[in-house]
């Protein structure tokens, strides 16, 4: 995706003035509620009209106030997944899924209903009315409906924020899976850094109707580490190997992590705050924390009053944070050896 936007619009007390160029297929729009994220996607999708400016997607002008171009929303081929499913209540699951597909020109029907229902696991639901679906199923149908319109860009406007954490991480693999499988570039909108980390490679940061930063999502997370109460959230994807003494042993890179978990799933995604990791200069003889990892310092960065320590732990990356005095006492340097201790209960399962 190659998106150029330079638009202005006044909403009374609030004004939107955005100018950016972005290349990439997994782009995030990050900012607090009311910052103008949804207003911006309304302009890009053609549902709202800017006062002036231009919007160019993949070298095609969607809007240009200079020469009066304003492509109607239905011709832009920009699919939308909204915060809530917003399924058509008078149509069945199948009717909803095929709504956009039927309106797509036959030569543009690259993505077919059979493939989408398979990826989104919707085959058994097709004849149902939408009122007989759970929240997660409804959102999957909404994703399928947008994907089946064969869009050249998919805009996901806070599609996870109405879901609880458990459901959120059930939906994420579908969102990612469907976009990866069918190679659909997307704009993912959220005020949650965690969601942004999982979904986007690059991020546009929005505040008060302006773009205030354009960076990689990883850099954004590192930069916000010092401001956030939760620190930097490490996302740890593991495979279960065995169970012992009320803990689960999971394979992570070349080592094993012991995690307090009642869940018996073979795979798991856990979050671990950078503040839950204790660093040691030398191997402590005995320690109550069940995980002691031998790591190498890959990078050191400052975030506010804190120092972020990026470590290579048996082929996996982990970020811990310490205050400056602690960093000095530990003599942390790039390439140096360090030990990271993590309690088994410090991990929180996401999926």
């Amino acid at each position: 995706m190659d998106l150029k936007v330079d638009v202005k619009k006044n909403y009374g007390a609030f004004s939107l003035d955005m100018n950016f160029v972005i290349h990439g297929d997994r782009v995030g729009l990050f900012g607090p509620s009311g910052s103008g994220k949804s207003s911006l996607v309304g302009l890009i999708s053609g549902l709202r009209e800017p006062e002036n400016g231009m919007i160019i997607l993949d070298d095609e002008t969607l809007f240009n106030s200079g020469n009066g171009v304003d492509m109607p929303s239905e011709h832009r081929r920009i699919g939308m997944v909204f915060q809530r499913p917003h399924l058509f209540p008078h149509l069945s699951v199948k009717g909803n899924l095929l709504y956009g597909f039927k309106r797509c020109s036959p030569d543009g029907r690259r993505i077919t209903p059979d493939s989408v229902t398979e990826v989104l696991q919707l085959n058994h639901l097709l004849e149902r009315g939408i009122r007989n679906l759970s929240g997660g199923e409804q959102q999957r149908v909404a994703i399928g409906r947008a994907v089946l319109s064969n869009p050249r860009l998919l805009i996901m406007d806070e599609p996870l924020s109405a879901l609880d954490d458990r459901l959120k991480f059930q939906i994420i693999p579908f969102l990612r899976g469907v976009c990866d499988t069918f190679k659909i570039p997307y704009l993912f909108i959220s005020h949650s850094l965690l969601e942004m980390r999982v979904m986007a490679d690059q991020t546009l940061v929005i505040a008060d109707g302006r773009i205030v930063d354009q960076t990689t999502t990883e850099n954004l997370a590192r930069g916000l580490m010092g401001e956030s109460d939760a620190g930097y959230i490490n996302l740890i994807r593991v495979r279960r190997s065995r169970r012992l003494d009320g803990l689960c042993a999971y394979k992570w890179g070349r080592q094993e992590l012991l995690i307090s978990s009642q869940n018996d799933q073979a795979e798991g995604l856990f979050e671990l705050s950078s503040r839950e990791i204790i660093l040691f200069k030398r191997h402590p003889e005995a320690i109550s924390a069940r995980n002691l990892l031998e790591c190498r310092v890959a990078d050191i960065f400052e975030a506010g009053q804190r120092i972020g320590v990026e470590m290579d732990c048996g082929g996996e990356r982990l970020i811990a944070e310490v205050v400056k005095e602690a960093a000095n006492e530990l003599s942390i340097r790039k390439g140096g050896e360090i030990f990271a201790a993590i309690k088994a209960s410090a991990f929180r399962r996401l999926a």
Partner: protein, 227 residues
């Protein structure tokens, strides 16, 4: 009931015919007006709102008289129609126009109520899925405001059955030609010994109205179950 004359039977049939025709003719206009007033923002909206709702507050006789001026042979519309060989005043068509005008605001209000319950994001969703404005109206807005459309049509039909004031002015009270049930009742009550017949026609009116209401309730219940 056995004493009904052929004029009485034709009054009953004419009432049904006028009410049905007025409802069917008003439906597309009522839908379009409700759509404009629900989904469009334009400067003349308040004027449209007043014009549409005016028949609700005006005495039907006033509406009848205004229609008489408009549609009479010397009237701006009536004159053109007369030259084309079309006679409106004192025909059943005049009764249709009178009842359509009087019942129109009721129909628009019901359809609007139905349309206002539609989640606006559904309309946005349909547009981004490739549906144009007209397609969205047909495939999303019309089916989702069906309850309002049915309620509005039945309300207008019921109102049309009872229309008197405007009809008597533009269509007159010609037995067998423009005389509907209310006009026939009026004529019986003005004649000596006509009370019994007036009462019979009142019972017919009540039966038709109850049938319309029962049909509406049945349809609403059925739609509720299929939702």
């Amino acid at each position: 009931m056995l004493n009904f004359t052929s004029y009485d039977y034709s009054a009953i049939l004419l009432s049904l015919k006028v009410a049905l025709t007025a409802t069917l003719i008003s439906l597309p206009f009522g839908f379009a007006t409700a759509y404009l007033m629900t989904f469009k923002r334009f400067k003349a909206r308040i004027i449209l709102d007043i014009i549409v709702n005016l028949p609700l507050t005006l005495p039907p006789v006033v509406i009848g008289f205004l229609l008489l001026i408009l549609l009479g042979r010397q009237g701006p519309i009536g004159n053109i129609l007369f030259r084309m060989g079309i006679q409106i005043i004192f025909t059943w068509k005049a009764a249709v126009i009178a009842t359509a005008v009087v019942g129109f605001p009721l129909m628009v209000r019901s359809i609007r109520t139905g349309m206002e319950t539609i989640d606006k994001t559904l309309i946005d969703a349909s547009r981004t899925l490739g549906a144009g404005r007209f397609d969205t109206i047909i495939s999303i807005i019309a089916p989702l405001s069906l309850k309002g459309i049915i309620a509005g049509s039945l309300l207008m039909f019921a109102r049309a059955l009872g229309e008197f004031g405007a009809t008597v002015i533009v269509a007159g009270n010609i037995p067998g030609v423009t005389q509907t049930i209310p006009l026939a009742i009026y004529e019986y009550t003005s004649s000596p010994g006509g009370d019994a017949m007036a009462l019979m026609l009142c019972i017919i009116s009540i039966v038709i109205s109850v049938a319309v209401l029962v049909f509406h309730e049945w349809l609403a219940g059925r739609m509720e179950r299929t939702d």
